[in-house]
């Protein structure tokens, strides 16, 4: 059996990691808490912008540090609402079709994202995906520490995790498919036999054209 590995942000949904994070920050126990959290996030914004360009892993770590002090209960209880309000309306029209075709062809469909696991679980359930590779927040005494558990899912690490997943499930990587919108996912796309660019950014579009990778537009 082959597997299809899907990046999420920009590939299956129009939103990115920031949108659900902001939703969480705006939904703290009190408006004062929300204001404080948002303020801290805004102060970190220049560093995050720099990290986004330099190192995806660092960006993820900076972004998710905003969750420091949020209780595990709150994370989980807000997840469904965050998914319904932020992610679900922003799923590309063709995304469900593409996942369904992959399932129909007998593929193991795996979501590979730097987003948090409890949100990706909901997305996977909604799309019918069979597995997720996502980031996990470190929880101590039922509260998030703001740190991510290793390995952090981002950039080249995605490629290693995909390889590891395929090996553990007995998939031949040459027969597997990979989908992403971002040039930062080229390592992940390069380890599968059938890479495809989905709604690609400019750099990935150039690369996909050069290497004759299929280019899909799920927004249409």
């Amino acid at each position: 059996m082959a597997a299809s590995y899907f990046d999420v942000d920009g590939t299956l949904v129009t939103t990115n990691l920031v949108h659900p994070t902001v939703f969480y920050l705006l939904n703290q126990p009190t408006p004062l808490h929300s204001l404080a959290k948002l303020g801290r996030a805004v102060l970190r914004a220049p560093w995050m912008a720099l990290a986004e360009v330099q190192d995806r892993r660092l960006f993820n770590e900076l972004l998710f540090s905003s969750f420091e002090g949020v209780s595990e209960d709150r994370l989980l209880s807000l997840a469904e609402e965050a998914f319904e309000k932020v992610m679900k309306p922003n799923i590309f029209p063709g995304a469900k079709d593409l996942v369904q075709i992959s399932l129909d062809k007998g593929h193991d469909v795996v979501i590979v994202s730097g987003a948090l696991d409890f949100l990706m679980k909901l997305l996977a359930d909604h799309l019918g995906a069979t597995g997720i590779i996502a980031n996990h927040l470190e929880i101590k005494d039922h509260f998030a520490t703001g740190k991510l558990l290793r390995p952090v899912v981002a950039g080249p690490e995605k490629a290693r995790l995909v390889r590891e997943h395929a090996r553990s499930k007995g998939h031949d990587l040459d027969e597997c498919f990979g989908y992403s919108d971002s040039y930062s996912d080229v390592p992940m796309l390069s380890v599968v036999g059938h890479p495809a660019a989905v709604n690609p950014d400019r750099k990935l579009s150039l690369l996909a054209n050069a290497y004759h990778w299929p280019i899909l537009r799920l927004a249409a």
Partner: protein, 540 residues
């Protein structure tokens, strides 16, 4: 006496101007070479709308269309896609004319549940502006996209299995058509392999049905795609079409067009070079110079975006087979030129367009299908070239593909052909994998790409030619590896190609050159055996 469209060159003959992709090339061909030109265009019908109304009211082997209608019935109209004609015809396209008459008739009979499906089968989806060109503004604005849309062979819910023929061919068609009270097919017939049962049974089917005949075994048994009586493909499609017509209420409307492919300023491209006036010769020089200087996209635009002034030569309606017999007769009337004797060497330019690259680039796999598939098969009777003979083609064979339309072709050419050119092996090892490729399927369904199995079909399409020909030599290729991948040799000039071909041809080989486009067909017959003057025949 030979037909005026079959010209034998002598020492005073001018060079022939042949297409090499979207450029024109002058070639000096040896004295004695026979050059096959297209017939002059048949006269077009003066009142096409009247002909349409007459045809649907006086159909062959069927009651008139109006008699089949009743208020509230469910009607599906299917039309041919962008692969016909080549290039697109000037507006109004004949499909628009037929649709206008038919839709008015349906409205008059209170038939409101009408949908128009573009019968793409596994071809690419037509874009909205392409559909508008074919059906006209009025129909487009009224029906697109809810009631006028492209067929989707990969939407399982959209397909309905209707049965299996006695030869085991599964027939699965568009559900809307299957569930309709009446299916009206509006065809545009360019060449004799179009139309007939192919319209519904292929145009509205999917891979499950296509694989019954689009496979190397059936293709090897086709002795001319253009002659249904000697084509295993046509025979298979006929069986499936007959089953279709048993289950569905089909009313066929077929139209034929003449071969007026070039409009007035370029009409001379279809003519014998020795008959050109001084002005035409100068125009040809200017055109060649201009094409040589223009970038490729501009050349493509000149030839593909400018619609042709095809004239409608016939409209036939009624029961599929009865209609198609008339269509074939008219098509042959336009195309067939009698040719006595097969050639040892067949020469042809490969033009810029095929049914599968409208508004895109003719990629290497399509060059192959043009050479070994379509042009090799432009005959009725026996092949134009002897078994084991040589075909010389002119084309740059540029390693270029349209990523949007031909995505699966790229993998086929660059990953599979280096492994094997054996059609049977490609069919066995790779076809099913491509057919199940979700990325390509999504590009077919939501984008404008050909179905992932289409490059296989294109390779099989060249199978009969490959089995028959001894060698194929390309003149003017801009690289050597693409011809090599396709199993072809290369030559820098026509002289060099002819020298190469003569090494495996008999002394004083017969050479036949095709001067196409426009389209023509050779009605080839074997040479009469020469009378023997030996004692047995003289006295025996």
């Amino acid at each position: 006496m030979t037909h005026p469209c079959l010209v034998t060159l002598d020492s005073r003959s001018a060079p022939r101007t042949l297409f090499s992709g979207d450029r024109l090339v002058d070639v000096d061909l040896p004295t004695g070479t026979r050059v096959l030109y297209s017939k002059p265009p048949l006269e077009a019908l003066k009142d096409v709308d009247a002909a349409i109304r007459y045809a649907i009211s006086h159909p062959y082997n069927s009651e008139p269309l109006y008699a089949k209608l009743r208020p509230g019935m469910k009607v599906t109209i299917a039309i041919d896609d962008i692969s016909l004609p080549l290039p697109q015809m000037k507006r109004p396209d004949v499909r628009e004319r037929v649709l206008t008459v038919v839709l008015d008739l349906l409205a008059d009979h209170a038939v409101d549940d009408v949908e128009i499906i573009i019968a793409t089968s596994v071809h690419r989806r037509m874009k909205d502006w392409e559909v508008r060109h074919v059906v006209g503004d009025k129909i487009f604005n009224a029906y697109w996209p809810k009631r006028l849309y492209n067929h989707d062979a990969e939407n399982a819910a959209n397909m309905a299995y209707i049965g299996t023929t006695e030869m085991g061919e599964e027939v699965e068609l568009n559900r809307r058509a299957v569930e309709s009270d009446l299916v009206i097919y509006v065809n545009l017939n360019l060449v004799p392999m179009d139309g007939g049962h192919k319209s519904v049974a292929v145009g509205l089917c999917g891979y499950r049905s296509l694989r019954a005949h689009h496979n190397p075994k059936v293709m090897r048994d086709c002795h001319s795609y253009m002659d249904p009586s000697s084509s295993a493909l046509a025979t298979s499609v006929e069986r499936m079409g007959r089953l279709t017509n048993q289950k569905l209420n089909v009313f066929t409307i077929e139209t034929t067009i003449n071969n007026r492919m070039f409009d007035r300023p370029l009409e001379f491209l279809a003519r014998n070079e020795d008959d050109l006036t001084t002005t035409e010769k100068n125009s040809l020089r200017v055109l060649k110079f201009t094409l040589d200087k223009l970038p490729q996209p501009a050349r493509q635009a000149i030839f593909q975006r400018v619609p042709s002034p095809f004239g409608v030569t016939g409209v036939f309606a009624g029961e599929t087979e009865a209609v198609h017999a008339h269509t074939l007769k008219r098509a042959y009337e336009q195309y067939l030129v009698p040719v006595v004797g097969q050639a040892d060497i067949l020469i042809t330019g490969i033009p810029y367009i095929s049914p599968y690259n409208v508004n895109s680039f003719l990629n290497p796999l399509l060059v192959q299908v043009m050479a070994s598939g379509y042009l090799f098969n432009l005959y009725k009777g026996v092949p134009m070239v002897k078994k084991g003979g040589t075909m010389i083609i002119l084309h740059p064979c540029t390693d270029q593909f349209d990523n949007e339309h031909h995505a699966p072709y790229i993998e086929f050419v660059h990953r599979l052909l280096p492994e094997t050119r054996d059609a049977m092996e490609l069919h066995r090892r790779y076809e099913a994998k491509f057919a199940a490729n979700p990325a390509y399927i999504e590009m077919y369904r939501a984008g404008n790409a050909y179905h992932p199995t289409h490059p296989f079909f294109m390779w099989y399409w060249g199978e009969a030619g490959r089995q028959h020909l001894g060698r194929t030599i390309v003149v003017g290729a801009d690289n050597e590896y693409i011809p090599k991948l396709l199993g072809w040799e290369t030559a820098r000039t026509m002289d060099e190609a002819l020298r190469m071909a003569k090494t495996t041809a008999p002394p004083r080989p017969e050479i036949l050159a095709l001067h196409t486009p426009p389209i023509m067909m050779a009605e080839t017959s074997l040479e009469k055996p020469r009378a023997s003057f030996g004692p047995e025949s003289a006295f025996g």
